[in-house]
Assembly symmetry: C3
Homo-oligomer: 140 residues x 3
């Protein structure tokens, strides 16, 4: 039981896709189990984060930009991998600092998320991309 | 097969809960499978870390405080989300830098942890909290 | 269905072990399920990263060395845990910043990795080590 969720992004930042995952889940004949989300890219990543105040998402983006500046920033002059521009290698670093896979229990047909938790794709590239996240459900 | 483990915290730092997970496991009629831990909050997180020398836990807390200072530190003046005080947004950032979910194989009735590995809740808020971690076991 | 994969390392950096995981998978009588990788150490960790350009791996190592310098660097004088030398506590910190476990769907007998994704052990210690990663497969 699996599905590939395609997500359109338009620049760096967090894109919530909780509803897409809930839709996948509601199509499945399973009440209890384990949901796995797997990001098939190395320049974007996954996060569970607060979905109440959009400032949280903006601040996360701002923090990571300061922690890992673009490759044309003087502090990043040591970077060798620059094939696809100044946002290329910083994207791989930000992906390494966050998550590629997430595991979420499913209980009585619902994701066991906390009250304020949402599921996000964290895009680290500037150009628009279509990203693929594999949603996979195990019964049990 | 799941249980919500409640953990009391009293300020930032690492709180080991390996034994609570082992207790959950010992109540289950399963010898082999996969244990998932899922943290239902966005201002604390999960870590597998060394449980031999308490200095490791203190140093981890100190590193993260330097990497993500409180919001009233001049270097963090760009933060917008300040609803709940200077430890609010740094808590979300530290959670993003660590783990929300952990997956641990269960073999012959035991967690497949290495010799020095313990399971920790990493609290990122200053005030006392009761935190919920969902423990979920799949047989197989 | 599980196996412990032993990996020899010789200093800090990324060591790809995608093929070892694929070999484990090809020995299993399972076409669909969930593969979990669990690192049994707290001074090395797991990453899914690009396997096309080796510069990416070198740059990741360089970034993490700058973010978490050795304990004999003046900026790290606050560290208390120094039992095993200047690469000891930084190794625990780098492990906390990356992953201890990874979950990857298995679809039609293959890991659901993206085109450029490889599985890496990220060694954070200077001395040679033999590292153990538990590969665990659940059918479903």
């Amino acid at each position: 039981m699996h599905e590939t969720i395609a997500l359109r992004t338009s620049g760096q930042g967090l894109y919530e896709f909780t509803r897409a995952v809930q839709r996948f889940l509601s199509d499945m004949p399973v009440r209890n189990g384990l949901l796995t989300l797997f990001c098939q890219h190395t320049s974007c990543s996954l996060l569970v984060q607060e979905n109440a105040d959009p400032d949280v998402q903006a601040d996360l983006k701002a923090f990571f930009r300061r922690l890992v500046p673009p490759a044309n920033d003087p502090s990043m002059s040591y970077l060798e991998h620059r094939t696809e521009g100044p946002d290329d290698m910083p994207a791989h670093i930000k992906a390494a600092l966050t998550q590629t896979s997430l595991s979420i229990p499913v209980i009585e047909g619902r994701l066991a998320l906390g009250t304020w938790q949402g599921l996000y794709l964290f895009e680290h590239r500037d150009a628009p991309h279509t990203r693929r996240v594999v949603a996979h459900l195990l019964e049990g």
